[in-house]
């Protein structure tokens, strides 16, 4: 991997897209499902009704589109950057989800809940900083 300014810029753009679109996708799915209503039954006819409403929801489609955007950026960045370099970005994405939930969706988050999220981010960061390949290539 060369350290040219162009490659760095491209990498940071992709990381930014990943950190914005993965949380945005989850938040949109959450908003869409809150509009659809609680899935409280397992009766097939009722489930079919819920699935129809899910696919009619604009928020759900926005969420799916955001997650696809994230996925394309993820695939592209992995074509030149190391997996162990990219993966800790998902720990930042977890924090962004919580911030979006708090500020955009108005979810209540207790101090213990915040502490848990920070600890999870730390854990994901530690997991992500380990070698991506441990099996022998022959």
């Amino acid at each position: 991997m060369t350290s040219s300014a162009g490659l760095h810029f491209k990498t940071y753009c992709m990381l930014l897209i990943m950190i914005v679109f993965a949380p945005l996708g989850n938040v949109m799915l959450g908003k869409g499902m809150k509009n659809v209503g609680a899935v409280a039954t397992w009766a097939p006819s009722e489930l079919l009704h819920i699935v129809t409403r899910v696919f009619m929801s604009g928020y759900i489609w926005l969420g799916v589109a955001s997650l696809l955007t994230f996925f394309v950026a993820y695939m592209l960045i992995l074509s030149w950057a190391d997996f162990s370099y990219v993966q800790p970005a998902s720990s930042v994405a977890l924090l962004v989800v919580a911030l979006l939930g708090y500020f955009y969706l108005g979810e209540r988050i207790s101090p213990l809940h915040w502490a848990g999220i920070v600890v999870i981010c730390l854990g994901v960061f530690v997991v992500g900083n380990t070698p991506p390949r441990t099996t022998e290539v022959r």
């Binding site: 989850n26 979810e107 809940h113 915040w114 848990g116 854990g123 380990t130 099996t135």
Partner: protein, 124 residues
């Protein structure tokens, strides 16, 4: 209780699906030619493997379970808890794919589990 069951489905079937797809793709072999026709051929070859179909079905189950749990719980609760994927992935990688999981990775998994416990307790 219902949300715990759904979250379990999200994590278990999501990771199970990824492990099945990994198995299928390792069987297909490393992709070295990225011209569109070659990529289509790789996909067609992968689609002939039962592991691929099991994997895709499990991933679909995980996605719809995620939607179901998002209908009853907050995003700021659900998404951090799904970080348990890292724990399931480490266990699945070790026992189903024979990958070596480093002590540092186990340490990270343990920290994630502690964080999920705090999030769970903080929700009450």
């Amino acid at each position: 209780m219902r949300e715990a069951l759904l979250l379990f489905l999200v994590v278990a079937s999501g990771t199970g699906g990824e492990i099945c797809v990994t198995r299928a793709m390792k069987h297909v072999g490393e992709v070295k030619d990225f011209r569109p026709l070659a990529v289509v051929q790789v996909i067609l070859r992968a689609m002939k493997l039962p592991w691929m179909w099991i994997g895709i079905s499990l991933m679909a189950l995980a996605f719809f379970s995620l939607l179901a749990v998002l209908s009853i719980e907050n995003v700021s609760f659900v998404v951090p808890v799904t970080a348990l994927n890292y724990a399931a992935g480490a266990l699945g990688g070790k026992f189903f794919l024979g990958e070596r999981v480093t002590p540092r990775r186990w340490a990270g998994v343990l920290i994630v589990c502690i964080g999920v416990t705090l999030v769970w307790l903080g929700k009450r």
